[in-house]
């Protein structure tokens, strides 16, 4: 009953702020999800095979389901939607519920990134305020800041891409940093041996494929790899900078100051800060908002601002959201479609108070 009342009040706020109801499909093609989340995510999904042999699943996430709907409708304009429904997924934690009631909102296809980010955060905070929940903490980060920092560092391109790709897997990311500051990528004995094969393969038909890779592709990458060695001292320095960066945590009104100190210490361009504008605007909020460079690393599709609202009392997450500009492309869109959204977890909301 409590959650029904909450739901009513929250949806009223969504509507008032110009969001339009949209019901995403309950059943999705499993490939949509696996393509984006990887093979290992399969075990968390509730799947079955339909009559045509196609693998289907119950939507594990309403954001993905909303994006799939946007693409299926072939929408080209701005879609400012809200939904109320259930997401179905198993969890690694047996105590977690398989069915999650969510109320969410998304702005898809708009180019006004800063104002959209603000709109999403403010709508969520306003909704929570409307149901008279005051004791909340807001954690916020911007994963794009990390990406931009990496671009400025002096390491081989393939290492930049590798670190950006694995920002989402903190344990593996730490392994990468350890590797970056210690061992080499290239085994000199193996390289010498393979160099002979390299010259032999150069004489072959370059379009011939070996296990779906053209000989030209293999040789190009081999050549690039041995020409782009990584220096030990730079690797060590880079790993230190990254570790230090990921330690930055402060109240939102001190974000500017903390980032400036960090950039000055390591002599890095300060221009990065201007990209965190929507976050900065929250410094006038009445809530306790903590900025952290390490925040938002558990969901791969975020590309920019990311935030989470939790109860102060029992630390239950009641809302979460962020910018996910690459998601629609990974789901098959031919053009770049920017998007930002957030969802309130009704189950946790009822438990958390």
């Amino acid at each position: 009953m409590k959650s029904k009342n909450y739901s009513k009040k929250i949806l009223k706020v969504f509507k008032k702020r110009g969001f339009v109801f949209s019901e995403p499909d309950v059943l999705l093609d499993s490939n949509y999800i696996i393509q984006r989340s990887g093979e290992n995510f399969k075990k968390l999904m509730l799947t079955f095979e339909d009559d045509s042999g196609k693998n289907m699943c119950l939507r594990p996430d309403l954001t993905v389901a909303s994006c799939v709907k946007y693409l299926e409708k072939n929408s080209k304009g701005i879609s400012k939607i809200y939904y109320s429904g259930q997401a179905y997924r198993r969890s690694n934690n047996s105590k977690d519920s398989i069915v999650n009631d969510q109320l969410g909102l998304e702005i898809i296809g708009s180019k006004k990134k800063y104002s959209d980010d603000k709109e999403i955060i403010n709508t969520i905070l306003k909704s929570i305020n409307k149901i008279k929940i005051k004791d909340i903490a807001v954690n916020i980060g911007d994963v794009n800041l990390f990406k931009q920092l990496i671009e400025l560092l002096k390491i081989p391109e393939r290492w930049k891409l590798r670190l950006i790709r694995h920002f989402w897997r903190p344990n593996y990311f730490e392994d990468l940093l350890n590797r970056l500051e210690t061992n080499s990528d290239i085994d000199p004995i193996a390289v010498d041996f393979d160099k002979k094969r390299f010259f032999e393969m150069k004489k072959l038909n370059q379009n011939h494929e070996i296990a779906s890779r053209k000989i030209s592709e293999i040789l190009f990458r081999f050549d690039k790899k041995i020409r782009d060695p990584r220096s030990f001292s730079e690797g060590k320095k880079t790993a230190k900078i990254i570790r230090e960066f990921l330690k930055i945590t402060c109240p939102i009104d001190q974000m500017d100051k903390c980032l400036k100190i960090f950039f000055k210490k390591y002599n890095i361009e300060k221009n990065l800060i201007k990209n965190a504008l929507p976050i900065k605007s929250l410094s006038k909020s009445n809530y306790k908002i903590i900025f952290s460079t390490n925040f938002g690393r558990d969901l791969e599709y975020y590309t920019g601002m990311v935030f989470e609202v939790s109860t102060l009392k029992n630390k239950k997450e009641i809302a979460r959201g962020g910018r996910y500009d690459d998601l629609l492309k990974s789901l098959g869109s031919k053009r770049n479609v920017s998007a930002v959204g957030a969802a309130i977890n009704l189950n946790n909301l009822s438990k958390g108070i």
């Binding site: 393509q35 290992n40 070996i210 779906s212 890779r213």
Partner: protein, 227 residues
């Protein structure tokens, strides 16, 4: 029947030979009424035991449901089985045979791929440039999934294989494979190479018991050999 201890032994291959040798060395003689094709046997000196010859995978399943009390099978097969099944089985002894590694292997001519980190780059290249997922043929989907994911490889697709997995990269069925190998010669003969850091599991034959029938297994008179 209540006191009869059932023992599952591998029904074929090198594993069967090694198990029979082990029993022989310990003066345990197996007798089958129906000759070589009989799936049942008895241990002459231990009347309260019954031996059943089963596929090594089947031994794990039957230990899990408690129809076998003791079994000998590979660690690879136990670790590949469902977690719920593994929880019902206990390893009591690791044996000095059946040693083999589960490894990640790529075509020899992928000379740019030496490590798992290289493979990770290739898997993203497949997704971003070819809009495909790297296909990994294997008889061990669970162990492969766990290994690849912890190594940062997320963009791949498992292709289930029932045998001759080494052929898959050259028949268009997959790009790479994971397979069990003891000497590496089959992989080498099929133009495949194990990645430098591509060992998923070091396996060997193990004595396993069903946790449900632990007491019965302990009473069987095989304690010296099996525990």
């Amino acid at each position: 029947m209540k006191d009869l201890t059932t023992i599952g032994l591998p029904s074929k291959g090198r594993l069967k030979e090694s198990v029979l040798n082990l029993l022989k060395k310990n003066n345990l003689k197996l007798t089958s009424k129906g000759g070589d094709r009989d799936y049942f046997a008895n241990l002459d000196n231990l009347p309260n035991t019954q031996v059943i010859y089963l596929h090594a995978r089947e031994i794990i399943e039957r230990l899990g449901d408690g129809t076998l009390d003791i079994g000998i099978s590979g660690l690879d097969l136990l670790n590949e089985s469902a977690i719920s099944l593994q929880k019902r089985i206990e390893i009591t002894k690791k044996l000095d045979f059946g040693k083999a590694n589960l490894v990640v292997a790529v075509p020899n001519d992928w000379i740019d791929v030496q490590t798992i980190a290289d493979l990770e780059e290739i898997s993203f290249y497949f997704r971003d440039k070819k809009n495909l997922r790297l296909r990994v043929a294997t008889k061990y989907p669970n162990l492969t999934n766990n290994f690849l994911t912890t190594k940062g490889i997320t963009q791949y697709k498992i292709v289930s294989s029932l045998g001759a997995t080494e052929t898959y990269p050259f028949t268009g069925s997959s790009e790479i494979i994971t397979d069990i190998t003891s000497t590496g010669s089959t992989l080498e003969a099929n133009n495949l190479r194990v990645l430098k850091d591509g060992t998923i599991l070091k396996s060997q034959a193990c004595v396993l018991i069903s946790k449900k029938n632990k007491k019965k297994a302990a009473r069987s008179g095989l304690s010296k050999l099996f525990f």
